[in-house]
Amino acid sequence: MSPTAPIVTEGLQRYFGSGDDLVKAVDGVDLEIKPGEVFGFLGPNGAGKSTTVRMLTTLLRPTGGAAFVAGYDIVAQANEVRRNIGVALQDAAIDPLMTGAELLQLQAVLYGLPRSQHQTKASELLERVGLTAAADRRVGTYSGGMRRRLDLALSLIHEPSVLFLDEPTTGLDPLSRMNLWEEIRRLNHDGTTVLLTTQYLEEADQLAERIAIIDHGVIVREGEPEALKTSVGCPTLFVSVERDEEDTATEVLGRFGDLRPSHEGTLGVGLLHGPGEVSNVVRQLDEAGVAVRNLELHEPSLDDVFAEATGYRLEGAAENPDGGDGSDEVDDK
């Protein structure tokens, strides 16, 4: 591993509790994120994403292993790490009693910017995220989308070389989400390395050059999205049938390939011999007396990669995230 890479972890561990109550939240994570890369970090709730990010942003001490951010050890050189990172955490609140401009100026003070730059830097960032008109309003009056944009602006006050974005678009309306994507691309184009955690697989597909999927504290897949999709291989056929016919349908579908995780009320199968098998599937289901209510054929997607790696499908993962409701529930198959 290159110690000069913006983010490097070596066997990173974080355990909570002890004895019978021991929880291995992160259990030996190895990552190397390259300079100028947008890296997607995916996983179901409780998989270890946030714990990993909290360690990398110096909020939490690792139990074992090592990690370097911007070339600095997250334990021994925590303050150097803090000087080089920007962080927009999903659960990092903003003081509702302060105005957007006051918060940015406080952030400028805390990052040691020269006094002469406080006002100009705050104004520049407020304009950049479209909050100039709301600059002197208390944050308590901001909408959720405005808070996320302010959160991003706060993380950029010192032009960090490494940016951590924890589910930055959750709860945003479609237009705000697209604008934020555009901003992330622009930051990345300017040379900022971005570690992005998200529950929207399409978001990772759109923005990330490489992704890692973490489950039960362990990295279960890592690579470029296209390569990961190719690794899944065959397309997935989703079939909806009556509940009392599911056993029969499962037996029939099993003749065409491996059954795959799917949403409730739907059965999924990876078609070993490709899309040409669809007609045979329908015919054999018909011969078995199974009435097909709905049929969908999906080319390999990150959703399939995620499902194959974790055994879960994220709720609404197949949908365009623009229409998502921010739910992060998962189906356990």
Binding site: T4, A5, P6, P35, G36, T57, T58, L59, L60, R61, A70, G71, Y72, N79, E80, R82, R83, N84, I85, V87, L89, D91, A92, A93, I94, D95, L97, M98, E102, L106, Q107, V109, L110, Y111, G112, L113, P114, E127, R128, V129, G130, R138, R149, L154, H158, E159, P160, S161, N179, L180, E182, E183, R186, L187, N188, H189, D190, G191, T193
Partner: protein, 277 residues
């Protein structure tokens, strides 16, 4: 979103190059954090008013209810308000200090404190910043209660030096109250800490000669009050209302403030470090 950023390094030419910001000094970051604390007095007066009104009400109520305390042989003043006003001031300033602990618990629970912890300020600034805010609150409390006390009959017996001693004691108690409040906020990270802050402060203050002089106390309460450092702090703050300011009545309070501040600061720093665990 209107975007007009200046390109620093294009992606095609990027390599990892830390763009380290300047060293963040203790003083400016402490002032920044302290001003946030002060600003919230105006924005959320309901969180500050109790620490201002309580000592006024207490000074007025105690001096009225216990006016007969001045009849005790050897009682050092003939004005009960002169005895109870410094107690009210110190109580209010203590609460101005531990009020910072309440605010910090709220910041920890909301997640705002994570944002502060991720900044490169010296860790000590996370303690000294709110302490500056508490000291400004304590100045407001001391001045207001003193002025109200003058209106209802309190009199300085050693001029401005006596008033200075009151400020030294009240600011000292605000400082140790802040350190104690922050330590418990970091340790418990929720409102359990707030309950302990109040309880322990009340106990420490009222198991001293807060209400009556040591000379009229008996039994275990006398023993506890005699060794309670808050007795010395009260003596420091009260002396300008009971007679002349003397070194004998001063040094014990200064030592008590310094010792408790050192202990509570150590506890706060250790507890802050444990937030990463």
């Amino acid at each position: 979103m209107s975007i007009d950023s200046t390109t620093r390094t294009t992606k095609s030419g990027s390599g990892h190059k830390p763009r380290s910001v300047a060293f963040t000094a203790l003083w400016p970051s402490s002032v920044g954090l302290g001003m946030r604390n002060v600003r919230n007095i105006r924005r959320l007066p309901s969180a500050f008013l109790p620490s201002l009104l309580m000592p006024i009400i207490q000074a007025v109520a105690f001096s009225g209810t216990f006016f007969a305390v001045t009849q005790i042989p050897g009682f050092p003043t003939d004005r009960s308000i002169n005895w109870y006003l410094p107690l009210g001031v110190i109580l209010g300033c203590g609460f101005a200090g531990i009020g910072v602990g309440f605010t910090t618990v709220r910041d920890i629970e909301s997640g705002f404190y994570d944002r502060l912890r991720m900044t490169p300020v010296p860790r000590l600034a996370l303690i000294t910043g709110p302490t500056l805010g508490a000291l400004i609150r304590a100045l407001v409390v001391t001045t207001t209660v003193f002025l109200v006390g003058l209106l209802i009959g309190a009199r300085l017996t050693d001029g401005m030096l006596g008033l200075l001693m009151l400020y030294v004691a009240s600011l000292g108690v605000a400082t140790l109250g802040t350190f104690w409040g922050l330590a418990l906020a970091y340790r418990f990270r929720d409102m359990r800490g707030a309950a302990i802050m109040q309880l322990t402060f009340f106990l420490a203050l009222f198991l001293s000669d807060a209400q009556t002089p040591l000379s009229v106390m008996e039994g275990w309460l006398h023993g506890v009050a005699r060794v309670n450092p808050f007795t010395n702090i009260l003596r420091l703050g009260r002396q300008g209302f009971l007679g002349d300011v003397t070194w004998a009545n001063t040094w014990g309070g200064l030592v008590a403030i310094a010792a408790i501040c050192a202990l509570t600061l150590w506890f706060a720093v250790a507890s802050l470090n444990r937030l990463r665990d």
